[in-house]
Symmetry: C2
Subunit: 479 residues, 2 copies
C-alpha cells in the first residue's frame, strides 16, 4: 500500500489510501467519494473499564505472568493417546451429563441443548420417549455440569453421557484432556437432534468406533497433535470448521495399525468393522474437529492459573451465554448473552431459524486456530461467507489482540507467520475489538439440527468483567 | 494497485508504479531510485520466428482449433480405474523398456536414465550384475521407447519394465493412460538408483502393492480424479512436487475397500499385507504424483491431434533433451537440450551434482498444475526455493501463456480463479516467456538418487520449432 520512498514520492499530493481508525462513518463517506480506505476496527474502552485497564496495565506482575502463561501454552505438546468412555475418564454415572459452555440449568437451556439432553437420556436408556426424557431433565433429576470443569470439551451442545467414548489427549507434563468423538453431519446429537437414528449411531460409536480406535491408537502409539495441527494449517484447514486435511492425515497415520488389529491376538477386531470405521471417518471432513478441540483444551489449560495474567484460557458457549476464563482468575467464568452468528444457511433455513452461538469449539480460537487462522484457509469462505481477502483480514485483525505468534502453527499465505496466539483480555478491552469465531449454526428448535455456518463474536462484556476481576486481584495483590 | 477512480485520483502527478515490459535494466534502475515497479517478463520473438508467428496468427483455423483442443482437455473426466502390469497394459516383454521424455538411446542417455535402465534389467532378471546389465543395454539389445508413445508416463527416469504394476486412468470417452506406482524416496529406480534395495522394493510392489491396490480399487469403483485434483489444489498441493493432501485423500477414500478385500471371498488379501500397503503409502507424500501424472496425460492427450492448434499437449524430458508436442502437429517431438534446474539441494549435494532436467512429470504443468499452480501451494517454496510472493508471481505469469483457466481446478488464494490452462505455443514464442516447471533434481552420476528440488524452464527452441512446423502445416493447409 506504500507509494514508495524515492524522490517521486515527494511529489504525491493525494493520499493513496486513508487509514480510518474506529470511524466507520468516515470510512463509508471516503469510500463513496472513491477514496481507497484501510478501515481499522477500534473503539475506546467502555467508560466503566478505564480504571480496570489502568490497574491491570500498572500491575507489575502482568508482563511476566503473561509470558509464563503463553510459554506454558506453547510448550504443552498435546498427544493423542487413547479412547475410553466418559464413565471411566470423567467418572460420571446415571443421570449425570456434561454440556458445552459455562454452567446452565434446564430452565435456561436453549432448544439445541435441550434436544441433546433428551437425546442423551434416550441413548443411555434413562427414558423411553422424548416426553419422558424432558420430564426427567425438567424435574432437575439430571445433573448438568460444564465439560470445561472436567478437562473436557464437546462441540455444539457438547453433551457427554457416561457411555460415550472420548478421545484422551495428554500433555508433556502428564495432564490430560478429553473430547467426544465426532458423529458426522445430518441428524446428530450435538446439533440438538434426537431419536432412533441418533441413538443407533451413538451405540455403534460406543460398541465399534470407540473400541477399534482405541486398539488401533494403542498399537500405533501417541499421535503428536502439535505436529498434526501444524501440517493441517499448512494445508488450508483452520481446525474449527475446516478439518479436511487433518482428518485425512489422521486416517492415513492410523490406518495401518487399525488394520493390524484384525490379526492381532489381543484385539482381534473384525475386518468388516475396521472397514466401517474407516468409511465412517471418510464420510466426515469434520471428524478431526473434536481431536483438535481436545488438543486446544490442553494447550489453553496449560496457561491457566497464572496470577496476574490477562491471557484468555477458555471461550465457550452453552447456547444461551458466552463465557470466558482468563489465566489470572482461576476457574471463574465471565459470561454475557451469546449472539446469533452471521453466516450462510443450508437450504430452507434462514436467520430466524438460528439458535444463539453454542459449543466448546471456540477453544480452537482460544489457541489461535479457527477464525484466527482463516488467512491460511481461504476455502473456508465457501462455508462461512465473505471472500478470501476477508479471511486474511480477520487473521490480521486478530494479531492486534494476541501477545504472541505460535512457533510452529504457521500460515504459508502470510509468509509462514505463526497464528495469532495468546489472546490478551486487556488488549480486547483497550481496543474494543473482540475475537472472531467461525462456527456451525444450530437450529433454535430442539431436534432441528444444523441450519448453517458463519461468523460470530463474543460479547465485549465477558472481557470487561474478566478485566475488572483481574484488577481486583491486582489491588488485593493476590490471585 | 489502483490509486482509486474518484476525484482525488485526478490530482495524482506521480506514478504509483511503473510497469516495465521486457526491460530488466530499466526495472533495476527505477527500483534503485525507490520507484515501485511491476516488471513484466517479455522478449521479442526470436528473429527466425517472425514469419512463423505471422503465419500461425493468420491461420483461420487457429481460434477454433485451440478452442476445440482446450474444450476436449477440460472435458476429459479422468477416473482411476485399475492397476495391472505393463506387460498386460503396454504389451512390452523381454528386453523392452519405456522411458521418460522424447526418444533417446543408451549412447546419449544421462547417468540417472542409465542407472534406472540397469536397475530395471536387474529387477527383471535380464542381468545378474550391474556390469552385465550395462553390457546388455550398451549393446543395443534393450529396446527403449518413450512412455508417451504408449499412453504412459513415469516420473524422473520414467523406466517401465514388463513386470511393473501401473495405474490405469480412463477418460469419459474410454481412452486410457497408464503410469507407474510411486516407489517413495531414498534409493529408488526413478532417480537412477539400482541394486538389492531397489529390486526388493520393486518386487514387493509387483507382488503385494499392485494386486492389493487393484483389488481395493475394483471393489471401490472408479475414483474421480478431476474432483480429487480440485480438492487437493484447494488444500495447498500443486500436484507435482506437493501431493500431500491428494495422497491423504486417496488413502482415505480407498482404505475401507482395501480392508474389505481381507474378508472378500475372491480377493482374500492378508490383513498384514493390506496394513503394509497403507503404511507404504503413508510414508510417502509423493505417492499420488504418478496418479496425477496419469490423469494429466489423459487430459493432455484429449487435446492432441487437432489440425491448426498451437496448444501444447506434452512437455517431457529424458535427462538429455526437453521435448514438447503441440495439438496441431501430431506425435512429432520438438526437442532441445534440457537445462539444469535451479533449486535447493539435499545435504552434501550442490549444483555440480545435478543432472539436466528429467522426467515425464512436466505433464502436470502441461495441464496447469505443478509450477503453474504454485499460487495455491505456498508451502512448496520450502522445497523448491523462493518465497510465497514468488509462488504467486509464477502462476500469474503463466496466465500470459495460456488460453483458458481450468473450470474446476481453482486456486483459493487467487479468489478461486482456475489454474492457467491450455499453454499456447504461439504466445510462448511471441512473448519469449517459457513455462515454469518445478521438479525433483536427480544426481548426474548413475546410482546417486535425488540430490535436490527446484525450478526449471524449457528451452525456447522447442516452441519455436513447434511453431515453425505448425506454420508449415498452415501453408500446406493440412495437418
Amino acid at each position: 500500500m506504500s507509494a514508495g520512498a524515492g524522490p517521486l514520492a515527494d511529489l504525491l499530493v493525494a493520499p493513496e489510501a486513508v487509514i480510518t481508525v474506529g470511524a466507520p462513518t468516515l470510512d463509508e463517506a471516503l469510500a463513496a467519494q472513491g477514496v481507497p480506505t484501510v478501515p481499522v476496527e477500534w473503539r475506546p474502552p467502555p467508560a466503566g473499564s478505564v480504571a480496570a485497564v489502568a490497574e491491570v496495565t500498572a500491575d507489575q506482575r502482568l508482563a511476566q505472568a503473561n509470558r509464563t502463561a503463553i510459554d506454558r501454552m506453547a510448550g504443552a505438546r498435546p498427544r493423542l493417546v487413547d479412547v475410553r468412555t466418559a464413565a471411566e475418564l470423567v467418572g460420571i454415572g446415571r443421570h449425570q451429563l456434561l454440556h458445552a459452555g459455562p454452567p446452565v440449568e434446564w430452565g435456561a437451556a436453549s432448544g439445541p441443548l435441550r434436544g441433546a439432553i433428551i437425546g442423551a437420556c434416550l441413548y443411555e436408556g434413562w427414558a423411553a420417549t422424548p416426553d419422558a426424557a424432558e420430564r426427567i431433565a425438567g424435574s432437575g433429576a439430571v445433573e448438568l455440569s460444564p465439560c470445561h470443569d472436567h478437562a473436557s470439551v464437546g462441540p455444539m451442545a457438547g453433551i457427554v453421557s457416561p457411555s460415550m467414548p472420548m478421545w484422551v489427549v495428554e500433555a508433556a507434563d502428564g495432564r490430560t484432556s478429553r473430547s467426544t468423538l465426532n458423529e458426522g453431519l445430518g441428524k446428530v446429537l450435538r446439533y440438538g437432534a434426537f431419536g432412533d437414528t441418533v441413538t443407533e449411531r451413538l451405540r455403534w460409536m460406543e460398541r465399534v468406533l470407540g473400541p477399534i480406535l482405541a486398539s488401533g491408537l494403542r498399537r500405533h502409539g501417541p499421535v503428536d497433535l502439535g505436529a498434526l495441527i501444524a501440517s493441517m494449517v499448512a494445508m488450508g484447514d483452520e481446525g474449527h470448521n475446516r478439518n479436511r486435511a487433518g482428518t485425512s492425515l489422521l486416517v492415513r497415520a492410523l490406518a495401518p495399525d487399525l488394520v493390524r488389529t484384525v490379526e492381532d491376538g489381543k484385539a482381534g477386531n473384525r475386518a468388516g468393522d475396521v472397514a466401517d470405521v474407516l468409511a465412517f471417518i471418510d464420510a466426515n471432513d469434520h471428524f478431526l474437529l473434536n481431536v483438535v478441540m481436545g488438543a486446544a483444551k490442553l494447550v489453553a489449560d496449560a496457561g491457566a492459573g497464572v496470577p496476574g495474567s490477562s491471557v484468555v484460557v477458555a471461550m465457550a458457549r452453552n447456547g444461551t451465554d458466552f463465557g470466558i476464563r482468563i489465566a489470572g482468575t482461576g476457574e471463574r467464568w465471565f459470561t454475557a448473552p451469546a449472539a446469533v452468528p452471521d453466516g450462510l444457511y443450508l437450504g430452507g433455513f434462514g436467520p430466524d431459524d438460528a439458535n444463539a452461538d453454542i459449543g466448546d469449539s471456540a477453544i480452537t480460537e482460544t489457541v489461535g486456530l479457527g477464525g484466527f487462522a482463516m488467512a491460511g484457509a481461504p476455502a473456508i469462505v465457501q462455508l462461512v461467507g465473505g471472500d478470501v481477502d476477508d479471511a486474511r483480514g480477520w487473521t490480521e485483525l486478530m494479531y492486534e489482540l494476541t501477545l504472541a505468534e505460535h512457533p510452529t502453527w504457521t500460515l504459508p499465505p502470510l509468509g509462514f507467520r505463526g497464528v495469532p496466539f495468546g489472546i490478551d483480555a486487556l488488549r480486547v478491552v483497550r481496543t474494543g475489538v473482540v475475537p472472531i469465531i467461525n462456527t456451525g449454526i444450530a437450529g433454535r428448535v430442539a431436534g432441528t439440527g444444523q441450519v448453517g455456518a458463519g461468523l460470530v463474536r463474543p460479547p465485549l462484556e465477558c472481557f470487561t468483567a474478566a478485566l475488572a476481576a483481574l484488577a481486583e486481584s491486582a489491588r488485593a495483590g493476590r490471585p
